[in-house]
């Protein structure tokens, strides 16, 4: 029985999984990207959410009080907004336009802070069957490990992108 | 090679398999072009080894071996293969034919392997030429048959046809009649002689059956010329 087989697999995988899962929520160098498209066909519209430790984007995590720090934060967020298309590289043939909706530094507990940004995406041509590639390190060299999730129509998939290697295939 | 150069000339031939005992020690042997020579000797006197050397299949001998005016030691391996394929016809004692080919395919195989040999057909198509040779040997009815369906006598005639097609200058036959009965033996030899004559080929015929020797131009005893044989 395939089903019983999977159940056995699930149980067998639990121990391994438990360890593999323990990714720290706030780990310097790691970022999280969530991409959602209503559908991958037609002229897809969607959103992309980006989360990363401020250290990896801005360079520090303390509250920016000095003028110098505030300038740094503003410059980093501007760069994030302007060059996001190089970080999450949507298929060129789909002619997607990425617009920054928000980008801010949010303080967490214990002196940590995170950058949160949201982008709106509008593509002229379908994405189905194509691939999304990544180039985080070109823009922010410290971001070397990114967990990317993709929702598109009924597709739910994810990729662990290390050192910009890895692709996400958009289902047909 | 000129008309006058001998078909075979051996000088001081020494041969042994690896480091084994000496099999051949032939100071001198000459066969004239167009000659029909009967070479005899008991089993183990080195007849087949001598043929292997002449055909350029066995290397590693010392002395000089000229076949059709060529020092075959001076030819590279692939040149020797090409030379053999083009200028020699070879008939074995038994199991002469490739079992998975038809009679026609067996007969034409040397000409298909050697472009030079095919070139000597004088513009006649390969099939026609094969048909001609087969007809002379009385096997033209069998051309499409599988060789495994033939009698031993028929098989030997197919082997003869194969060795003759494409007018090789030297035919070497290694006891081709030993598996035939007396009547068939004589008949086979007559056909072979006739074909050799028509093609102007030299025939080196090896046998231990001396009852046939009177049919040949010259008779050679291998033990007499091979000092290693004793």
């Amino acid at each position: 029985m395939f089903m019983r087989f999977t159940v056995v697999l699930v149980v067998a995988g639990m121990a391994v999984f438990g360890q593999a899962r323990s990714r720290k929520a706030h780990e310097h160098g790691s970022a999280k990207v969530s991409i959602a498209f209503e559908t991958a066909t037609g002229a897809p519209k969607g959103v992309i959410a980006f989360e990363a430790p401020a250290e990896s984007v801005v360079g520090f995590e303390h509250e920016a009080k000095s003028v110098a720090d505030k300038t740094k934060v503003a410059a980093a967020l501007r760069m994030l907004a302007a060059r996001f298309g190089e970080m999450v590289i949507l298929p060129a043939v789909s002619a997607c336009k990425v617009t920054n909706k928000s980008a801010k530094v949010e303080a967490l507990k214990e002196q940590h802070s995170e950058v949160h940004a949201e982008f709106a995406v509008a593509c002229a041509k379908p994405l189905a069957g194509l691939e999304i590639r990544f180039g985080f390190m070109k823009v922010f060299p410290k971001i070397h490990d990114v967990e990317v999730a993709l929702l598109a129509g009924e597709q739910q998939s994810k990729a662990d992108v290390e050192n910009d290697k890895g692709v996400l295939k958009i289902a047909k | 090679m000129s008309e006058t150069s001998p078909a075979i000339r051996l000088t001081d031939l020494h041969f042994s398999y690896g480091k084994g005992p000496k099999i051949l020690d032939v100071p001198s042997l000459e066969v004239k072009a167009g000659e029909k020579v009967f070479l005899f000797g008991p089993s183990g006197s080195g007849k087949t080894t001598l043929l292997g050397v002449l055909a350029g299949v066995l290397g590693g001998y010392s002395g000089r071996v000229e076949v059709l005016g060529r020092d075959i030691a001076k030819l590279s391996g692939s040149q020797r293969d090409a030379f053999r394929g083009s200028h020699l016809g070879y008939i074995f004692q038994l199991f002469n034919l490739i079992p998975y080919l038809s009679v026609m395919e067996n007969i034409t195989l040397p000409c298909r392997l050697s472009a030079e040999r095919r070139g000597r057909l004088n513009g006649v198509s390969l099939e026609q030429a094969a048909h001609g040779v087969a007809k002379r040997l009385g096997i033209d009815e069998l051309l499409t048959k599988r060789v495994t369906n033939l009698s031993v006598g028929q098989q030997q005639r197919v082997a003869a046809a194969r060795s003759l097609l494409g007018a090789p200058e030297l035919i070497i036959a290694d006891e081709p009649t030993s598996s035939l009965d007396y009547d068939h033996r004589e008949r086979f030899l007559e056909l072979l002689f006739e074909s050799c004559k028509a093609a102007g080929a030299t025939l080196l015929f090896v046998s231990h059956d001396r009852s046939l020797m009177h049919l040949f131009d010259r008779q050679l005893s291998l033990p007499a010329i091979n000092k290693a044989g004793t």
Binding site: M1, F2, T6 | Y17, V57, I98, Y100, L113
Partner: protein, 423 residues
């Protein structure tokens, strides 16, 4: 071309060994490609154990735990969520539908799931398949139960039978210590086989879960004389206090991300929301070692198939020494002899590849529906994948290379045999 035709005719002549060799390579190829297809199918089927669910929501805890108890009915939740919280999200403007699950009871090793009509209307698996009934109908009364097909088959139940559910999770063999024996359920229907974990549960109404626990206090059965008789319980009088988890479909995939964030930061109650496809994928990746093991085994099968070919070619050489001598005598050089044998080996492996692929197609077409029905495993019928082509190419090249072994031996034979082969 001449050598090719010789190789072909030589193989044709040894029709029995040729056929056996091709079959043995063909079978191993079929196994390799078949396993590859099953692998793809298994991954697909696993990922589609649950479909069209955007989020699974439960009390905060491990995401895997939430997936396991909500989808696979393995393990249990540490905490429940209140029904008010559930209703809050159920009525959220971005939510299309929700399916509530109330877990914790069992029947002879099978889990009892309290849910509502939405389960029968909205639940999807294998992309777009919904829950249908083999017989009967969905539970409408507090004490009615619908059975998953494995439950009905294993226990031999049919519509109209009485079922007593057990408090907590008991093993199949031993009866639970605490039965809800005073409130038996009637089987209202049996679900059609889905070949997913859905088959291994019993489904009652949320009110049913409340009903069997109505007279319980703090997880203990009522004292004698304090029982509330089943006859006094109706659906309307039952209050639902809590559920274990719920499945959620958002109106748009874009809303899914926003909802996930909102639910995770809900201030009234600590919740977590997982995207099932992502967690399933992560789970599959960690159990992917089984896949690798399967592939390793099939590679060994291929190696055995190729070795079989080597053996058959090698052993045929002795019978073919005469043939090689004839070929040499009529002017075929070592290159021709070697290429003849290498080509034979190559042709055998190519034929094996073709047979193997054909076999996979025939078997797939024949057995796909049966496998799907019985194992819930949809094995795709498709042109060989990239991996498939790489395998085929590798086998063909391996066949070519292996051919050099008998070829070398044959060449050595012709050197030592010369023209004299006495067999």
């Amino acid at each position: 071309m001449l050598v090719l035709s010789l190789a072909y005719q030589s193989l044709k002549n040894r029709v029995l060994t040729t056929t056996l060799t091709v079959i043995s390579i063909g079978l191993s190829i079929a196994l390799l490609i078949g396993v590859e297809n099953v692998r793809v199918g298994a991954r697909e089927s696993f990922a589609n154990t649950i479909s069209q669910t955007d989020l699974i929501v439960g009390a905060r805890g491990g995401s895997l735990q939430l997936l396991l108890y909500s989808v696979f009915r393995i393990g249990a939740a540490t905490n429940n969520i209140t029904y008010q919280t559930y209703e809050h999200w159920k009525n959220h403007p971005a939510v299309a539908w929700t399916i509530p699950y109330s877990l914790g009871d069992s029947h002879r090793g099978f889990r009892v799931v309290g849910t509502d009509e939405n389960f029968y209307t909205h639940y999807r698996y294998r992309r777009d398949r919904s829950i249908t009934f083999e017989s009967g109908r969905l539970p409408q009364d507090v004490f009615e139960v619908a059975l998953g097909s494995d439950v009905a088959r294993t226990l031999g139940y049919k519509t109209g039978d009485k079922v007593v559910i057990t408090h907590g999770v008991a093993t199949a063999a031993g009866r639970g210590i605490l039965d809800h024996g005073d409130k038996p359920f009637t089987v209202s229907g049996v679900l059609k086989k889905t070949a997913t974990p859905v088959d291994r549960s019993l489904y009652i109404q949320l009110e049913g879960i409340s009903a069997v626990h109505i007279d319980w206090t703090d997880g203990a059965p009522p004292m004698p004389g304090e029982e509330v008789p089943a006859a006094k319980i109706t659906k309307q009088t039952m209050k639902i206090d809590q559920i274990t988890s719920f499945l959620l479909r958002s109106k748009s995939r874009i809303d899914t991300l926003r909802l996930q964030r909102e639910i995770s930061t809900y201030s009234e109650e600590p919740l977590q929301a997982i995207i099932p496809g992502l967690t399933l994928q992560e789970l599959w990746r960690t159990i992917g070692y089984a896949e690798d093991a399967l592939t390793v085994v099939t590679f060994f099968v291929i190696i055995v198939g190729l070795l079989g070919m080597l053996v058959s070619l090698y052993t045929s050489l002795n019978e073919r020494r005469r043939e090689m001598a004839i070929l040499r005598a009529i002017g075929a050089g070592p290159v021709k002899i070697i290429s003849l044998l290498v080509l034979e080996s190559f042709l055998l492996s190519i034929a094996g590849c073709v047979l193997g692929v054909a076999l996979v197609y025939v078997l797939s077409v024949t057995f796909q529906p049966i496998v799907e029905q019985h194992f819930g495993l949809y094995v795709p019928i498709q042109a060989p994948t990239m991996t498939g082509w790489i395998y085929l190419g590798a086998v063909a090249v391996a066949g070519l290379l292996i051919g050099f072994i008998p070829a070398w031996k044959a060449y050595r034979n012709t050197l030592s045999d010369g023209l004299s082969v006495r067999l």
